[in-house]
Every structure is written in C-alpha cells, then in structure tokens.
Amino acid sequence: MPFQPYRHSAGALRPSPLYRRYLSAQRRRRALIWLSRLAVLAAFLCLWEWAAREGWIDSMLTSKPSQLWTSFRELLVEGKLLKHTWTTTLETLVGIVVSMALGTVIAVVFWWSTFASKVLDPYMVVLNALPKVALGPIFYIWLGDRYSIYGMAVAISVIVTIMMVENGFKEIGRSKLKLMESFGATRTQMLRMVILPASIPNWIATLKVNVGLTLVGVIMGEFLSSKAGLGYLIIYGGQVFQMNMVMVSIAILAVLSIALYGLVNLLGAWLKRKNHFES
C-alpha cells in the first residue's frame, strides 16, 4: 500500500517549549508590525497637524487633519457625501462589469481567430500605449454626458483586460489542450472545458487590475462631466478653493478603492475555492 495522503504532520499535537517560545516571538513581532503601522499613520497625521499649526505648511493649501474631520462631518451631515460616494461606486461597478465582459469576449475572439488577433495586434499596442485621458473630450462628444463616464472607464481598463485575459489563455499549458485534442475535442469544447475554467485565477488577477483602472477612468470621466460623484466633488472643491473638500474626497476615494479591492479579493478567493484552485 504505497499511496499515502499528502502531508502528514507529525508531532503537531503537543507543542514543544521551543516552539511555544517561537510562537510567542512571532506574536510579538506581529504586534510590533501592527503597532508600527499605526505609529506611521499617527506620526503622519500629527506631523501634518503640527506643521499646519506652526505655520510651516499652509493649512489653506494642505488642509489639516482636524479640519478634515470637521469637514467630513459637515459633508456627511448635509447628506451629500454618501450620495457622491454612492454615485462613484455605482459607476465604477458598472464600468468593471462592462469592461470585464467586453475584454473577455474580445480575448475569446482573439483566441479563436489567430488571424484576427495578428491583424489587430499593432492596433492593440497603439491603443494600449495611448494615454486614454487624452480622448476625454471625444468620448464626451460621442457618448454624451451620461455615458461618457462609462466610456472613459471602459476605455482605460478594457485594453489591459483584453491583453491580460488573452495572455492567460496563452499560458494555459499546450499539453492540457493536447490532452483534450487526444480525445478529439472541438474548439468549442476546449474553450468551455479548459480555457475558460483554467483561466479563472488569471481572470481574477485581471479583475484586480481592472478595478483600479476603472476607478481612475470613472474619476477622469467625472472630471470631464458629471452631476455628482467624488470626481465632481474634487473639481468643485478646487473651483471654490475648498481644499478641505478636496482632501476629504480624496480620502474617501482611497477608502472606496480599498473597499472595492477587498471586495474583489473576497470574490476571487470564493471563486478560487469554489473551483478548487489552491490560492
């Protein structure tokens, strides 16, 4: 009976004194790291506040933590902040869904037709290299005020998405496909049974990149034309020289981006677990 389950952990029952010492050292180290993280944040905020109070930096330009807090509470109470944040969130989610769907479909087409992929390759390179922000006014004209935000968001994220997904398809071992071929699989079967499921981890990685890009696109789109949203708030705050408003919006944007990122991480972990990919 030579087949044994994979890893047998022996001696894991009664931790030895040395191991206990190791564990507590580890715990101390983790605590130290967390403390240092908090310390960095606190030091940053204190320094900021202090420098502003001492007049080393001009709080009118850079705001200061205490002002930010006041400003945040005011904006929140006025009820506007949640609305703006929600607008941006919604736009970002729509943008992500559209650009992931579009990107995946185009990547599948490119996988299907090597010819199309080859012919369009140089155009993809150009589109990838071109700073999409420059296209803002054009999107506005083409798509109108409502959809130009999505246009910008998708434009910024879709090319990278296509490239990453396509790359993922290519990285799936030739030999997995050879196995399929040996059973006489058609191209559709290969796509459905191997290419798509096998690229789930890569697809999740793409999604992670996509989130950041789409958010940038949404903000850029809001800069261009918007009725609400954090991008709108940033522009407006600048217009009326309310740096507090700008800073609060940026801080919320940071929180939003982390939240979205975390969400995608959870989704990714769930998808991977569901499909039994080791993380």
Binding site: M180, H276, F277
Partner: protein, 259 residues
C-alpha cells in the same frame, strides 16, 4: 493482421526557421494485446511517433493503419496518457474521469458507472468526490490512466507517464499500471527514458536512433523464469542485466554517432 501498422512513415516538422525531420521511414507492426516500450535519445521523436498513432499528427509520407484502416484524425480506439496527469483542478476526481466521455458525447450514466467501477477496482474507491489536489502524485497518475480507460480504447499510448514522479512511487506505480493494462487486455505503447522500466514492463523494446530517427533495434523480452513475473523478480533475473546492458550500449552508440 497487426493492430497497429506503420508503413514507411516519415514526419518533418516545419517552422519558419527550419525544417526538422523527426522520423524517417518508420516501419513497425504491433499485435493485439502486445506491450511495446520505446526508448531513444531525447528529442529523437518518440512523442511524435505516439502522436502519429493517435491521429493528432498526419505523416508527411507513409501510412499508418489501425485494425487495417488508415488513421485520419483521432479515434475512440486510441487512448493517450501524458507525462503529467493534467487533471483539471476545477473538477473533482469523478468528473475528471468523465472528461473524455463528455467530449466524445458518450452515455453519461454508463460512463459514470464504468468510472466508479474502475476507481474501485484500482484502489481509489473512496476518492470519487475528492479534488485532484488532495491526491498524491501517484494517485493522480492512476486517475489519469482511468480517465483514459473510461473511454474504452483498444490501444493505450503512454508518453513517459511516470517520469514526473519520485523514484519509489515510480517503481511501484509502473508495476501497477502494467498490471492494470494487462488485466484490461489492452495493446500498449510506452515511451520511456528509463531502460529498466522499458524492460520490466514490455513484451518488446524498440530502440530509436538519433533524429531523423528510425527504429534501430528491437528486442523481444523473454525471461527464462516465465512470462508472468513481477517487475521485481524480473529486475533480479539474470537476463535482465544482459538486456539492460545491450540496450544501454545500443543507445550509447547513437549518442556517439551523433557528435
């Protein structure tokens, strides 16, 4: 009539950079139920030979017949087993076993019954609902073999199926797989680098020459002690050593002649 027949088969690979003549004038015929091992220097075209038999490649010239019919495309008669198991992580063991059946649109119920029966028979009874990552390397290769057997091929092509395993697992699994294939009465063509594996598993060992390769020598493996020895006793028999050194020398000769 031989089950597999290759008549003056040649194959060249074409890439924009160069032409690689992999096989030149291969002739061989393999009987029903025979177990053939193929050894040869690396890159000589062993995998190519298997691909030709499986119908995934077309010969540049010559003919390949299976049961007297010319091969054109893959056929349900032939099962292919690769060096890596390529189990799909996103499917459990049972549904991995049904991959071939699914592709060939075989009756699902029947295929499932067959798969479960084979799992049981070859010592993996409790693992149908496990994920591939929960199996050891050797178990995974056995699952890969069963996946091939589920589609009920007459011929099994094995391309270095044990080379990714560690030494001890390799020795043990080779024995087992040999047993399974003989038990199922399949014809088998095994490609390997390991001369002792080739000798202990096969009825005939074919040695291929350097590229453009042909079959440079064929050895019928017969043990005085009888035919149904275990791999283990074969390894200890006197004829084993002489087969080993003959084949080794044959291989070395090709290596030298290539410089």
């Amino acid at each position: 009539m031989a089950q597999i027949e290759m008549q003056d088969v040649s194959l060249s690979y074409f890439t924009p950079k160069q032409e690689t003549e992999a096989l030149r004038g291969i002739r061989l015929s393999i009987e029903n139920g025979e177990f053939i091992s193929i050894v040869g220097p690396s890159g000589c075209g062993k995998s190519t030979l298997l691909s030709l038999i499986s119908g995934m490649l077309k010969p540049t010239s010559g003919k390949i017949l299976i049961d007297g019919r010319e091969v054109s495309g893959t056929s349900p008669k032939v099962g292919y087993m690769l060096q890596h198991d390529h189990l799909f992580e996103w499917r459990d063991v049972l549904s991995n076993l049904l991959v071939g059946a699914e592709i060939r649109r075989m009756d699902r119920k029947k295929a499932e019954r067959k798969a479960l029966e084979l799992l049981e028979r070859y010592g993996l009874g409790g693992f149908a609902r496990h994920n591939p990552s929960q199996l050891s390397g050797g178990m995974r290769q056995r699952v890969a073999l069963i996946r091939t057997l589920v589609t009920e091929p007459d011929i099994l092509l094995l391309d270095e199926p044990f080379s990714a395993l560690d030494y001890q697992t390799r020795l043990t699994l080779a024995d087992e797989v040999h047993g399974i294939i003989k038990d199922q009465g399949k014809t088998a063509v095994l490609v390997t680098h390991d001369i002792s594996e080739a000798i202990t598993m096969a009825d005939r060992v074919m040695v291929m020459s350097q590229r453009p390769s042909a079959i440079s020598a064929v050895y019928d493996i017969r043990f005085e002690e009888g035919d149904s020895l275990s791999a283990w006793t074969k390894r200890e028999s006197a004829s084993y050593n002489s087969y080993f050194s003959t084949i080794w020398k044959e291989l070395q000769a090709h290596a030298v002649s290539a410089v």
